[in-house]
């Protein structure tokens, strides 16, 4: 097993770890974070595919590498938007819960 394939397997594991966190963590910020872990796993996997495409003196296939740069920037844009939505939600409701039946939040504590 080469080092490159080891990175590939770690990338697969990261996708799994991120997905687990995305489902299990109740806080929206943790879900955004987990989503970024999934994203970085996917990027790393693409990076391994790019590295395997090394040819004619290049260290990797430049086409997937260029797409990865685009992907990282777009992932950042989406994360920034998601975080801003979350902060606004907190500002409005003083809670960030996604639960259908709201458990006691800081807002309820203030009202009572």
């Amino acid at each position: 097993m080469s080092g490159v394939i080891l990175f590939g397997l770690v990338a697969c594991a990261l996708v799994g770890v991120g997905l687990y966190g995305f489902i299990v963590n109740p806080q929206p910020l943790r879900k955004i974070l987990a989503f970024n872990v999934v994203g970085s796993g996917v990027f790393l996997l693409c990076g391994v595919v790019a590295r395997r495409g090394a040819a004619i003196g290049l260290g990797g296939d430049p086409v997937p590498q260029a797409l990865l740069i685009t992907g990282i920037v777009v992932a950042f844009s989406a994360t920034a938007l998601a975080v801003t939505v979350l902060l606004r939600l907190y500002e409005e409701t003083e809670s960030t819960t996604l639960a259908a039946d709201t458990p006691p939040s800081t807002a309820d504590a203030k009202r009572t």
Binding site: S2, G3, I5, L6, F7, G8, L9, V10, A11, C12, L14, V15, G16, G18, L19, Y20, I23, P26, Q27, L29, R30, I32, L33, V37, S40, F43, L44, L45, G47, V48, R51, G53, A54, A55, I56, L58, G59, G60, P62, V63, Q65, A66, L67, L68, I69, T70, I72, V73, S77, A78, T79, A80, V83, T84, L87, R88, S95, T96, T97, T106
Partner: protein, 314 residues
């Protein structure tokens, strides 16, 4: 076979930090873990011979994204304790682990059954690189072969800033983004915010310029310039501009607008949208990059500054 420690060490640390950020109870340590995770991913990218990607990961994936998450976790600290009551039940966690593990396993199987030798577009990318006038094949892909992707990427950033601004409360519309930072004017933060930007701006512009022939480029360079601006903002040395400023908006749109205009010129003179007439590729790429760089730096800085929170007069 023995795996090189330079592969094994970052790979295992990345996995460990990925698990840590997912399972640690509190959000703040999770976001700090993600920061370290991003920096280690940068090492992985260098090992995978993707130095351009490593620069992007260090600047945007690890740097800006982590800063967003760390700051948000500090603001949302009061939601930590109520969220503990919502912890997923054991069956849900078990099913989630099973499903996530299945997907990871399927991906690993796909990875191990990839064809050998791997298909590659490297020879095709190098075959016509002379016609683009740039020496870095990744820049050739970004600015010539797949320029459409890069144009849409710049527009995505513009949409992100419109989205972030749209989340302003009505009273703050047109005002200044984020809180006004008050740091100790004689403290270490204010000191660094005075000393570092001249160096950082030069480094950012260098990375932008060198991207034509070596690893680097406008996104990485613009991020470094934006980071210098954010540093002076957080040290309280400067304030974010009100978002109603006309010139601010012109500058934000200028980069993508020039990109689209050059694309339209290509449609007339070269027969395809974003096509470059023979011999004009390098000058046109430079026009796009010079227009895009300030727009990108400003857009990234303002996305980080966040939604307007203060009315313009304060």
């Amino acid at each position: 076979m023995i795996i090189d420690a330079f592969y094994a060490a970052p790979a295992l640390l990345i996995l460990a930090l990925g698990v840590y950020t997912t399972i640690v109870r509190d959000t703040f340590p999770a976001t700090v873990g993600y920061l370290a995770y991003g920096l280690l991913l940068t090492v992985a990218w260098v090992q995978l011979h993707g130095v351009d990607v490593a620069l992007t990961e260090a600047a945007i994936g690890g740097g800006l994204t982590s800063l967003l998450l760390v700051r948000a976790s500090a603001r949302l600290r009061a939601t930590e304790v109520p969220a503990r009551l919502e912890r997923a039940s054991l069956p849900v966690r078990g099913l989630a682990a099973l499903g996530a593990g299945g997907i990871a396993g399927a991906l690993a199987l796909a990875l191990l059954s990839l064809p050998d030798p791997a298909p590659t577009l490297a020879p095709a990318a190098m075959a016509s690189i002379a016609s683009t006038g740039v020496g870095n094949p990744i820049t050739a892909v970004l600015m010539a072969y797949r320029a459409m992707d890069t144009m849409l990427e710049a527009i995505v950033l513009l949409l992100a800033i419109i989205g972030v601004w749209s989340l302003a409360p009505d009273r703050a519309w047109g005002g200044r983004p984020g809180p006004r930072y008050n740091a100790d004017p004689d403290g270490i933060l204010a000191f660094i915010a005075r000393v570092l930007p001249p160096i950082g701006i030069i480094v950012g512009i260098y990375i932008f310029w060198v991207g034509a022939d070596h690893p680097g480029g406008k996104f990485q360079g613009a991020t470094i310039v934006a980071a210098m601006w954010l540093l002076t903002l957080m040290a309280g040395l400067t304030d974010a501009p009100p978002i109603s400023g006309r010139w601010l908006r012109v500058l934000l749109v200028a980069g993508p607008a020039v990109f689209i205009a050059v694309g339209a010129v290509g449609a007339v003179l070269a027969g395809a949208f974003l096509g470059y007439p023979d011999g004009w590729a390098k000058p046109l790429i430079l026009v796009i990059e010079f227009a895009l760089m300030p727009s990108l730096a400003l857009t990234l800085g303002l996305i980080m500054a966040g939604a307007p929170e203060r009315i313009a007069s304060t």
